[in-house]
Amino acid sequence: MSKVIERPRYVCALGGAIGTIQSLPRAIPILHSSSGCGGNLAGALSGASGYNGGNYCGGQALPSSNVSERDIVFGGEGRLQEQIENTLKVMDGDLYFVVTGCMVEMIGDNVHAVTKRFKGGDLPVLAAETVSFKGNSYYGYELVLETLFRDFVEKTTEKDAKTVNLWGVVPMQDVFWKGNLGVLKNLLKKLGIETNTFFGQGETLDNLKNAAKASLNIVVSDAYGIEAAKVFEEVHGVPYLTVQLPVGDHGTSRFLRTVGKTLGVDDIKIEKLIQEERKAYYPYLERLADVYNDLDFQRYATVVGDPNYTQALTRFLADDLGWLPELVVITDILAEEQKERVLATFGEYESGLRPEIVFDEDASSVGGYINRHWPQNQGQKYYKGFAPGVILGSVMERDTAEQFKVPLLSVTYPISNRVVLNRAYAGYTGGLTLAEDVLSLVVAHR
């Protein structure tokens, strides 16, 4: 039996699907669901994601069949057909994507049969059964990608060795997704590789439509988007590689070596790029030499969040910043095999650090793990606790940070105490941004 969850950091498959579709350029989600589903998810998709807003078509603009009791009794397929027809008349998009909520699944509406009637029309109408009780936001992301890869990406035998697709950075759930995708795309460009990220700044649906020409799919995650990669390989014959989200020098250099090697880029070229990037990176970090050491800015750290970020932040803190991120709490619902894959990403640190990793979905558990890792004061005279400490997590760690009197930087979802526009934490430049943000917190407390 799945667990009850105290303050989950994700919503349902429908929510993840809406967030994914509305982050595609000029795509229009059509909800076949109870009237309240879209409204119920709006705050999670917008407010909790650094005030992301709804993009082009989100929030209350989402078309929805708004089924209610009458449709539940008599079936909602007729209403869906009417809704799709009229959506095509009113809403201005290049791709329409029907997603479903719990109720229409339970009454057995066949959305695929309805959307099939729109096949061959001027505008593409896709559908996925994003039933909420089958999974969370990440599952919705996965389902949408699978559907796009099967039904929207055009088949081709033409392959371009210099083109790749990249995903695994989940829009909204990664609050810095857009900036991060841009950073990764630019890095690969420096290796002579063109990258479709589908959701990135300046891309259009053509990047997605022509994605089958790519020679490799790069999934920047050990948890999300892998099933979709398997579908892509099955349908279009493009292999995939999973890598970790890179932040800072150590993470990003590993990323470039792994990706470059898989793509057959010359070692010398890769190492040259890494050296160039480091030449730009370390002179900035150098500025911290005085303040870091004069004021003893090394900190213990607890890192809380999803697998993508926790591994990236931990490596950055340990190897780039020389901190002690000894405790990591991973808050996602993961299958055993996913857990193993994720655990393997917390290793091979230059600093030799071996963080304690726990998996726990409940938000209020974090304080307990901190107390266990740095045992609580039992009234001893000489006592060593979580000090000096910093928490890198989400806004949900606010109370925990207050309790331990340590600063908190929200980097993982949900984030509602910061506004995020084009900020990125990925790559070398992202590492500098993270150093700025986390050390600003420490100096702000002076």
Binding site: S35, G47, A48, G59, A61, V67, E69, D92, A363
Partner: protein
């Protein structure tokens, strides 16, 4: 009204014949509403909106020392995530030791849908008790458990014997109604059934001497329940408390931001004072029927005219009209002088308002008194309470017959179309629709806000000052208007904004 003995309250479509799709003028609406044939209309194209669960959480998730259990698949209650970690500051305005939002989602999976979600509901309630020891556990029931037939009330009755927190079931399945305001009935239903009144099983009844009892009754005879709403700020509450205290009344504030204990003696009051019929009619009617407590509920104290009406209604109940008139005279004289400069500045400007029927009609009157011409209104829904207010509005505001009136929650495509045609100087909107109007370039005044005041006499001045400030530099939204695009085809703006409202059923009812 006597629904309290039922497990679940009726939906507003049935109870109030509430309408959720209409397009016409204020005059048309007043006439059509009286014929009672609006409720059957529907949309053939629609956009998403909120649900009962959404609004129930909006109303009562602020309750202090409570834990919410959301019995649903993982996504329901998703809006809470944006408030986790930041909402505490508002609770702290009422109680320094308040903690932030706490909730547990039962995370119903496919297996649970087949075999029932009852075990997880138990698990969640026991976890809430064990981890947090709250005073109350509010259990919100979503669509899925309703359809699979979980016996929520049976389980919770049983669990109540095992936990010390008071358990409050709130039945708020989204699919049952398109009138979100039904949520208010669901919440009040749960609160009245489970929190109001002493629990003599768990603690002995209070014993008083005859003198103490007389004194107690004297206090009750001057005590009012001021029913707040989730959209009210603490400053709003303070302004209304100031006015009621000026009439020598004791004030108890319920239900948003309350503590579960605040309800125990809620029936020890002389009068229930509502500021919004949409929010409170279920509560006040039941309190009248169950405890004989009368109520005042005609209007919200927004703007001078409505604040005066509200105070006069209350004063007339206590027979202190003279005292109230003195207060009103002093307050209005001072206020009128203070807003004079704004009136000169705002004269001849035009406005469009959207939000709850009670709030928009009264705010429109306030703006009218500041010199605005009101071009149109959009209400979330419309029922008999709106009808009364609309008729008063038509009387108070000359030439308002021809102003547009559109009904629908969300449905921003209709709004976008309307705005492109009537181009007001100012847009006044409920959260959720303002971003859309902003992208059309309009200066926006939010209809309510957790950090600002709107109500009473002070509210009039503050609204005037803020509207004047906002109109001084609308550059941000102007930039958006020039450089962003709403997701509608150009052809949509050429059509009638009400193209997708299907009122054939109500036309048939009218003819029949």
């Amino acid at each position: 009204m006597d629904y309290i003995k039922h497990k679940v309250p009726p939906v507003r479509e049935d109870r109030l014949m509430a309408c959720q799709a209409y397009g016409g003028t204020c005059g048309d609406l007043s006439r059509d509403s009286k014929k009672g044939c609006l409720y059957a209309s529907k949309r053939t194209f629609s956009q998403t909106q909120g649900c009962q669960l959404n609004l129930s959480l909006g109303m009562i998730s602020s309750m202090r020392d409570a834990v919410m259990v959301i019995h649903s698949p993982i996504g329901c209650g998703g809006n809470l995530i944006q408030n986790a970690g930041i909402n505490k500051v508002f609770q702290k305005l009422r109680q320094e030791s308040a903690v932030g939002l706490r909730w547990i989602n039962t995370n119903l999976s496919e297996v649970d849908v087949i075999s029932g979600g009852e075990a997880k509901l138990r698990q969640a309630v026991l976890k809430a008790e064990r981890e947090f020891r709250p005073s109350a556990i509010l259990v919100f029931n979503s669509c899925v458990p309703a359809l699979i037939g979980d016996d929520i009330d049976g389980i919770l009755d049983d669990l109540q014997k095992q936990v010390s927190a008071k358990i409050v079931p709130i039945h708020c399945e989204g699919f049952k109604t398109k009138i979100q305001a039904t949520a208010y009935d669901s919440v009040y239903h749960g609160l009245i059934r489970n929190l109001v009144g002493e629990d003599n099983d768990s603690q002995p009844a209070v014993v008083r001497t005859p003198e103490e009892e007389a004194e107690h009754q004297a206090v009750i005879s001057k005590t009012v329940n001021l029913l707040n709403v989730g959209s009210m700020s603490r400053i709003d509450e303070e302004e209304l408390v100031r006015l009621l205290k000026a009439l020598d009344l004791n004030v108890r504030i319920l239900p948003s931001y309350s503590h579960p204990d605040d309800f125990v003696y809620a029936h020890e009051a002389a009068l229930n004072v509502s500021i919004c019929a949409t929010h409170d009619d279920y509560f006040v009617e039941h309190f009248q029927q169950m405890y004989g407590i009368p109520y005042v509920m005609r209007t919200i104290p927004i703007g001078i005219a409505n604040t005066n009406k509200w105070l006069r209604d209350i004063a007339s109940f206590f027979g202190i009209e003279e005292q109230a008139e003195k207060l009103i005279a002093a307050e209005t004289a001072e206020l009128k002088q203070a807003i004079e400069p704004f009136k000169a500045e705002l004269k001849g400007k035009t406005a469009f308002l959207t939000g709850g029927e009670v709030r928009i009609l009264t705010t429109a009157e306030l703006l009218h008194n500041l010199g605005f011409e009101i071009l149109g209104l959009r209400g979330y829904h419309f029922d008999k309470y709106g009808e009364i207010l609309l008729d008063e509005y038509l009387e108070d505001v000359p030439n308002s017959e021809k102003a547009i009136f559109n009904i629908g929650s969300g449905q921003v495509f209709e709004q976008a179309n309307l705005l492109s045609k009537i181009t007001p100087d100012l847009f006044v909107g409920h959260i959720g629709v303002n971003g859309s109007a902003a992208k059309q370039g309009y200066p926006i005044f939010p209809l309510f806000g957790q950090s600002d005041d709107y109500l009473g006499y002070k509210g009039v001045f503050e609204v005037a000052a803020r509207v004047s400030r906002i109109l001084k530099n609308p550059a941000f939204n102007k930039n958006l208007g020039s450089h962003t695009r709403l997701p509608y085809r150009d052809s949509w703006y050429e059509q009638d904004p009400f193209t997708y409202i299907d009122d054939s059923a109500s036309v048939a009812a009218r003819i029949g």
